[in-house]
């Protein structure tokens, strides 16, 4: 969907991925972030802290868009990883995501808002 393409914009994706991703975001946007939990979402630990992953599967691919809580009602998406055999692909997905997080926190113009709760 257009809004998600503009939010990620890195590589073309099958339409079903885009629609399901948008649908999950719409569902999460209806919930307070403190209620974001499995099976739709999971906060990560250890070297991936304080990232969170949105969890959904399309055509047997387990997608794990990663992001962080930027404010009380703001979740910033920073990287779209997938999960295979309980590991991220790419393996350094969290490191990439955390470096992007630092980049965005240093320069807010590196991201833009998409108000899904109102979309």
């Amino acid at each position: 969907m257009g809004s998600i393409k503009s939010g990620l914009g890195t590589k073309p994706s099958p339409q079903r991925f885009e629609v399901d991703f948008f649908s999950r975001l719409k569902t999460l946007a209806q919930l307070p972030m403190n209620d974001w939990k499995q099976p739709l979402f999971r906060w990560l630990h250890a070297e991936c802290h304080p990232l969170g992953e949105i969890r959904f599967e399309v055509l047997k691919v387990q997608h794990r868009p990663l992001g962080f809580r930027a404010a009380e009602c703001v979740f910033t998406l920073i990287y779209c990883a997938v999960e295979q055999n309980d590991k991220f692909v790419p393996r350094n997905a969290c490191a990439i995501a955390l470096s992007r997080k630092a980049e965005i926190e240093a320069d807010g113009s590196r991201c833009h808002a998409l108000w899904l709760a109102l979309e």
């Binding site: 629609v19 649908s23 569902t27 919930l31 209620d35 099976p39 739709l40 959904f56 109102l118």
Partner: protein
């Protein structure tokens, strides 16, 4: 977006694509079923494990686990009936208009989601309250005319509480 509407112009334009529309509905419903079953199972006055729900629904725990997976999407109507029955709740299926459906989807089952199981005492009290709480004793009568009576196998529908009671007694 107009105040109070759960959709924007941009969103409706995206839904104009049938493939998008159909997949969006499918994912929303898959998620909703999964979240609803989990929320009902974890409801404070139940706090059942998946194994406990499975025991009550006559399903092994892995089946319950799959039903709570928003990516699963293969729950049969019969299984949903059995799970609803395990919660002592009815099941409701509808094919609504889009506007109504979109409004319904904004109510995501979360920890505040609460459904009371069947309780005859509670419902009887409500039934008694509705019979005695009004200004008069007018029963709700969906059929009134002679034609209606014909459609009702020739039986006239009683017109008051008393006649309902008589009809019931007969």
């Amino acid at each position: 977006m107009p105040y109070g509407l759960p959709w924007s112009e941009n969103f409706v334009r995206q839904l104009a694509d049938k493939e998008v529309r159909d997949e969006f509905v499918a994912d929303q419903i898959r998620s909703r079923i999964a979240l609803m079953i989990r929320a009902l199972r974890e409801q404070e006055d139940r706090d059942w494990s998946q194994t406990e729900l499975g025991r009550r629904a006559g399903k092994p725990q892995p089946v319950i686990s799959r039903l709570e997976d928003p990516d699963y999407g293969k729950a049969s109507l019969q299984t949903l009936l059995e799970v609803a029955a395990a919660f002592e709740l009815p099941l409701y299926v509808d094919i609504p208009e889009w506007e109504d459906w979109l409004r319904l989807m904004t109510n995501v089952p979360d920890r505040s989601f609460h459904r009371r199981s069947f309780d005859a005492e509670r419902m009887l009290a409500q039934a008694r309250g509705s019979q005695t709480g009004g200004a008069g004793k007018v029963a709700y009568l969906p059929l009134r005319s002679e034609e209606d009576a014909d459609e009702n196998n020739g039986k006239q529908i009683p017109q008051s509480d008393e006649s309902w009671a008589e009809a019931a007694a007969n």
